[in-house]
């Protein structure tokens, strides 16, 4: 583009963009890898002119000038092609000659990424760094008081229960009157939350499933993974690996005909069924799998034609209340597997969470409640939904737990917390904090994408192009040219690494509390924070 172009209100220069490409002419060999790999095509070869002036101040000697042309890497400045900071150029560069740098001031692109009246949409997580979970400390360390346990030496049985745990007398009553008691699963307290086959690439999804299977079968860790809303490959449905899978049903109902057809052939029951009512990172905004991600494969698994947009509305059309939802869908899902499979709803953390929870306490079919907080997130949504809608998980899970405690049911309905655990990498600490605030288990999504597959996204808006299927790591793309960059075996190995190291770290936290065989669910006397108001709000200790 000519430097002498007429400017429009949305004509930006490199300084206006959030990311600047720093290119080193000295190191560059003009190999073309950076421009070839850039997912958003924001790099191109540029032709530059260099002027050399030879001067001579002597009389009768003339000065001269000459132009030389050189080639180099140029960054595009139009909003559609602005650099997303993924640094794949750096990854591909053989000479470390290129690197995106974050702008040293507020970018101007933010005012222009609504061209044509279309607000910005993106993939990834909430663009807000930090959070309360990282500030919580574990202050109750057994010093010759409780039996001090050694995380490295002692045996641990870190398990949690998924399912309705009725008091013994009620269980007896249930058996007597109904011939049935609610099914309960003993599972690992860290769960891979719902990310659909479709949102994730085949390589990523298979990697996650394979890693989970490995953890279960080789390492005896009963880790579970939720399918997200997009069905489940028929082969998994008909394999013993199904027992490690939580099937999700949500407002788009994708893939459920394939699941239903597979029921007669199932070797094992699925772990559970999760009914999704909301996603923490974008409550009120539905899901949308764009047509270009709906290839033949995705279409086959979801039971839809290829190449069409697949919206999941923010609401379930036929259900208008939680009572109705529990009465209709929960029961139907129980019926599908002869009342052997726990069924629980997942909601966005919200100031209305308690209303949902209170309804669940009155229904023995409710196997738990998963609450998804605003942080983290892996979905594609409007920027405004992702950044401003939602409720932090900490106080929401705390309120819910204390509410159950007030009802005397804190051990009956397990709460599962999600949304921001491990946001800054402190997964075990965040998960332990959530557990001690009252969660029976913790769901992770964003963290596993980063840790198991090398997702480049960040809370400061790096990459975050999952929604358009251009994931440069092949995690969220359905394009074989991208997802074949990811090897499912490598992902599986990383899943194993993540869970093993998480396990050690969790032990390092719970052992000094004297816990080795029961999770410290709701053990809030172990928690402290150096903010008075937060301490008061969460009903934990204020420590300075």
């Amino acid at each position: 583009m000519s430097a002498n172009r007429p400017v429009t209100p949305s004509t930006l220069n490199i300084k206006d963009l959030p990311w600047q490409i720093l290119w080193d002419k000295e190191k560059c060999t003009l190999c073309g890898r950076c421009t070839a790999v850039c997912p958003v095509h924001s790099l191109e070869l540029g032709v530059f002119r260099k002027r050399i002036i030879e001067t001579n101040i002597e009389v009768n000697h003339s000065s001269s000038n000459a132009f030389k042309v050189y080639h180099g890497i140029r960054q595009k400045t139009d909003p559609q092609h602005s650099c997303v900071g993924c640094a794949m150029c750096t990854m591909a560069c053989p000479n470390d000659a290129i690197l995106p740098g974050r702008s040293d001031e507020a970018d101007k692109l933010v005012y222009h990424n609504n061209q044509g009246g279309q607000p910005r949409r993106r993939g990834g997580r909430r663009n807000v760094p930090g959070g309360v979970l990282d500030q919580i400390k574990f202050i109750r360390i057994s010093m010759l008081t409780d039996p001090a346990l050694d995380a490295g030496r002692h045996e641990f049985e870190l398990r949690t229960l998924l399912g309705r745990v009725l008091p013994p007398e009620e269980n007896l009553k249930h058996i007597k009157e109904n011939g049935w008691i609610p099914p309960v699963r003993e599972i690992y307290p860290l769960i891979i939350g719902g990310m659909s086959f479709g949102a994730l690439s085949p390589a990523m999804w298979e990697g996650l499933q394979m890693g989970v299977a490995y953890l279960n079968e080789e390492l005896n860790m009963p880790v579970r993974m939720c399918t997200g809303e997009g069905g489940c490959p028929p082969r998994i449905l008909r394999s013993r690996f199904l027992q490690y899978v939580i099937l999700q049903i949500a407002s788009g109902y994708f893939g459920w005909d394939e699941i239903i057809h597979a029921i007669p052939d199932m070797k094992v029951d699925p772990c559970a069924v999760e009914i999704k009512y909301g996603q923490g990172a974008k409550p009120g905004d539905g899901g949308l799998l764009m047509w270009y991600k709906v290839n033949k494969l995705i279409a086959a698994i979801r039971g839809v034609p290829a190449g069409v947009n697949l919206p999941s509305p923010p609401t379930h059309q036929t259900q208008y209340s939680i009572e109705e939802a529990v009465a209709k869908m929960t029961q139907s899902m129980y019926m599908a597997w002869g009342f052997r499979v726990p069924v629980y709803p997942k909601i966005s953390a919200s100031s209305t969470s308690l209303a949902v929870l209170n309804n669940l306490t009155r229904n023995a079919y409710a196997a738990g409640l998963a609450i998804d907080g605003e942080d983290g997130g892996t979905g594609a949504a409007y920027n405004v939904s992702m950044n401003t809608m939602g409720h932090p998980i900490a106080s929401n899970i705390r309120d819910s737990y204390l509410n159950l405690a007030a009802l005397g049911k804190q051990n009956e309905i397990p709460l599962f917390a999600g949304g921001g655990a491990g946001k800054t990498g402190n997964l075990a600490a965040n998960a332990a904090a959530l557990i001690m605030l009252g969660a029976s288990g913790v769901q992770i999504g964003k963290y596993i994408m980063q840790a198991a597959a090398g997702c480049l996204g960040s809370e400061s808006d790096r990459c975050n192009i999952c929604n358009v299927g251009l994931c440069p790591k092949g995690i969220t793309s359905q394009d074989p040219r991208l997802y074949r960059r990811l090897n499912s075996e490598d992902v599986a190995q990383r899943v194993v690494d993540v869970f093993l190291s998480f396990d050690t770290e969790l032990k390092k936290i719970v052992a000094p509390l004297g816990r080795s065989t029961s999770l410290p669910i709701g053990m809030s006397d172990a928690l402290g924070i150096n903010d008075y108001h937060t301490a008061k709000r969460l009903n934990i200790k204020y420590v300075v």
Binding site: G32, R235, D479
Partner: protein
């Protein structure tokens, strides 16, 4: 044992148990006083027998009877020999630094915890956490413990040195002599054991064969042990080498972790086995899903380059109303084919010299991509002027189709020229004796040298029929022509001057009349002339008036004059004054009176505010709109047999009417072929694709035609420079000669990585980088 030989210390005094502190003081006191054989009647006192350093290098023998408390021999010294005559409590030999302790019974938990030297011989079983945290200091012999039966749970945790021997004789648990989870965190030492076990920390310890050296040491030491616990009879039973196993710590290098199944083995042996070939979705797709590198080639490239030579129109060609491919002429110049470059223009216009070289304001130069970069446009004028020497092309034999053209001006000549070139007979009807219309009649010689124009008209006259009408045709005659010919083209121009309805309007001379007369030097403008209407025609009038002697030349307009280019420059060179806004009230003998009352005195007043076509002669079937003939994009009127071009349709510059003639001719030719005319034209190239950086921005003028050719960026049309071949990092691009001067650049897909360097480097914007075909 001779009691008398031992100094007696009682643990009870006057019926009360004495404190551990008191007992310790009494033992230390006795040793200080020289007692070397001490017998203690213990009542659970702790730490008996430790710390007896006061005896120096002399041995101290301590016999404990009764109930030994915890920590017998703790912090023990090498001079100390302790014998517990029954079972011992917890932590025997805690932090032992050398004493030898014999326990004639079972011992409790924590035996030898943190012991660094010395030996403990136990004649029974021991409790949990034995031999934990033991050390081995190279300055001393390693610590040893010997257990006759079995050890309790968590044996040997964090054991860093020493030797433990577990004989498995009457063990507490006959199924497991090592207890539950032994050797977690073990980093050094050896464990000899005999009997069954239920596993140990595989991550920390490993079993090794017993070497001869080890066995020799063992057999010798076994005798000593059995001797101390008075069980010599067991030697035969315990000295069967095959019964013994030896465990040692893994080295840090060996502790890499438990050998788990590799993920690829898991995938092959577990995952794919359960799911079937191809894993999770092997039943749904047969597509290759194997991992690929970041920068692949061939069909795995995300982008592919395309060579789009001549796909888009260059700005010069695209803006030329006549549609002349100007860049192509410069290419021919670059190739040294200057004659062809000159001749090429006649394909498009019969007036390449007159118009391109003189009369045209050259939109091609206005649009030249170089101007975007503030560089001077390539000068077409010179090439235009050179076209006077263009060779007349060969015209084909006539097809028998005949087209009548009314009007012998540039529009009529253009359409006739193109039709004739296509082999059809075009007959021009005009009221003038010579062809050329306004070009001949009204345009001043200052703008077009007469010899140039007549040379081109001569070239035209040699091939085009011309019927000289004595008077303007009427409607009937036009109808007749329409019947006689296959098509009729109206190119009669606009000659009816627009005028102003003001007093004295009869005093105004229409500009066309003035120019026609001035060209023949047949008018005297006087000293003062006022021209109403300051457009380019007004400028021509001013120039001619100047030439003919006018000294005061004023052009007035109601708005800022729209005149430009050479016409305006010429007028200004005669000192013409432009005034606006001026509204004329009346024309008097004195001159022009404005509505303000101002008088612009004038000998001659010329009105030059445009001309309207004469439409009276047109058949009724031809629809008129706002005084002009209405045509479609192919210049067809509402009468399918009649076309109209030029000023009868819309006022325009000369190149517009030449282009209209060409387009109308094309439509007629196509229609005659029995086809529908089509208006498909290529899009203009996006000038962002052109790289002006290759050209010198400081050029302020061109020396010659060759320099023009070299500085033309040849937008959208390959210069054949080969920069793409040079820039391609993969050497994937090559030039393919197609013969007859044709060529193309091709990409080797198996080498190309889709970097787009070709597109980035191409000076002409030929290469583009597009997304590869969707996959999967």
């Amino acid at each position: 044992m001779n009691n008398k030989a031992y100094f007696q210390i009682a643990g009870k005094e006057e019926g009360f148990r004495i404190e551990s502190r008191i007992l310790e003081e009494r033992v230390q006191d006795a040793v200080e006083k020289g007692e070397r054989r001490i017998e203690i009647q213990a009542f659970g006192q702790q730490g008996i027998g430790g710390r007896l350093w006061k005896a120096g290098s002399e041995s101290v023998h301590v016999v404990i009877k009764g109930q030994a408390g915890q920590r017998v021999g703790s912090l023990g010294f090498p001079n100390t020999f302790i014998e517990v005559m029954g079972p011992a409590s917890d932590d025997v030999g805690w932090l032992n630094a050398g004493s030898q302790i014999v326990v004639h019974g079972n011992a409790g938990n924590g035996l030898a915890n943190a012991m660094a030297q010395g030996k403990i011989f136990v004649a029974g079983n021991i409790g949990a956490r034995g031999m934990t945290m033991t050390k081995s200091n190279p300055r001393f012999d390693p610590p040893e413990i010997w257990v006759l039966g079995s050890v309790g749970d968590y044996f040997g945790e964090f054991m860093a040195g020493g030797i433990a021997v577990i004989c498995g004789v009457e063990p507490q648990d006959p199924e497991n002599v090592l207890g539950y989870r032994p050797l977690v965190g073990m980093v050094g030492g050896k464990i000899y054991f005999r009997g069954p076990h239920s596993g140990y920390s595989d991550a920390d310890a490993k079993q090794v064969p017993i070497s001869d050296e080890d066995w020799n040491w063992f057999a010798e030491s076994l005798k000593t042990y059995l001797d101390h616990i008075n069980r010599k009879e067991l030697f035969k039973t315990l000295s069967v080498r095959e019964d013994w196993q030896l465990l040692v710590a893994r080295t840090p290098q060996e502790k890499g972790g438990v050998e788990n199944r590799s993920m690829s083995a898991f995938k092959a042996d577990v995952w794919d086995k359960e799911l079937g070939r191809g894993g999770m979705i092997g039943d749904l797709t047969t597509m290759d899903r194997s991992p690929i590198p970041l920068i692949p080639t061939s069909e795995l490239r995300r982008f592919v380059p395309v060579w789009e030579n001549r796909k888009y129109t260059a700005p010069c060609e695209g803006t030329c109303p006549t549609g002349i491919p100007v860049h192509k002429r410069w290419r021919l110049v670059r190739e040294g084919r200057i004659d062809e470059a000159v001749d090429l223009a006649l394909e498009y216009t019969p007036f390449p010299a007159t118009i391109c070289g003189y009369l045209c304001p050259n939109p091609c130069m206005q649009a030249c991509t170089r101007r975007i970069s503030s560089m001077i446009p390539i000068d077409i004028k010179e090439l235009g002027k050179a076209s006077i020497n263009a060779g007349t092309p060969d015209f084909p034999a006539q097809s028998g189709k005949k087209i009548a053209v009314i009007g012998g001006g540039p529009a009529g000549i253009s359409v006739a020229w193109q039709l004739r070139k296509a082999g059809h007979e075009a007959v021009i009807y005009d009221t003038e004796e010579t062809l050329g219309g306004k070009m001949v009649l009204v345009i001043p010689e200052s703008r077009i040298p007469g010899d140039i124009l007549s040379a081109e008209l001569e070239r035209i006259s040699s091939v085009i029929s011309h019927v000289h009408l004595k008077q303007k045709p009427g409607r009937q005659e036009t109808e007749r022509l329409k019947g006689d010919y296959d098509f009729l083209v109206i190119a009669a121009g606009a000659q009816k001057p627009r005028t102003l309805p003001i007093p004295g309007k009869e005093r105004m001379i229409p500009s066309l009349d003035f120019l026609m007369k001035s060209k023949k030097d047949d008018i005297d403008p006087g000293k003062k002339i006022v021209i109403i209407g300051a457009g380019n025609v007004g400028c021509d009038v001013a120039t001619e008036a100047g030439r003919l002697g006018a000294e005061s030349i004023t052009l007035i307009d109601v708005q800022e004059p729209a005149s430009f280019g050479k016409e305006r420059e010429d007028a200004e060179s005669y000192g013409a004054v432009f005034k606006w806004p001026c509204f004329t009230r009346e024309i008097t003998e004195e001159g022009v009176v404005l509505q303000t009352g101002e008088l612009l005195s004038a000998d001659t007043v010329v009105i030059s505010i445009g001309d309207l076509p004469d439409i009276d002669f047109l058949p009724k079937s031809v629809e008129i709109k706002d005084g002009f003939v209405k045509v479609d994009e192919f210049f067809r009127t509402s009468d399918p047999k009649i076309f109209a071009i030029g000023d009868v349709v819309k006022p325009g510059i000369l190149s517009d009417v030449i282009g209209a003639g060409r387009k109308a001719a094309e439509a007629i030719i196509t229609t005659l072929r029995g086809e529908k005319p089509s208006a498909e034209s290529a899009d203009m190239i996006d000038t962002d694709r052109i790289k002006m950086e290759y050209f010198d921005p400081r050029i302020t003028g061109f020396d010659d035609i060759d320099q023009c050719g070299s500085q033309c960026s040849s937008c959208g049309n390959c210069r054949d420079c080969g920069i793409c071949v040079a820039i391609c990092p993969q050497a994937a691009i090559s030039r393919e000669d197609l013969g007859e001067g044709e060529y193309q650049y091709i990409v080797d897909d198996s080498r190309c990585i889709g970097c787009g360097f070709c597109a980035g480097a191409c000076p002409c914007g030929i290469w583009d980088l597009i997304e590869n075909e969707p996959m999967g």
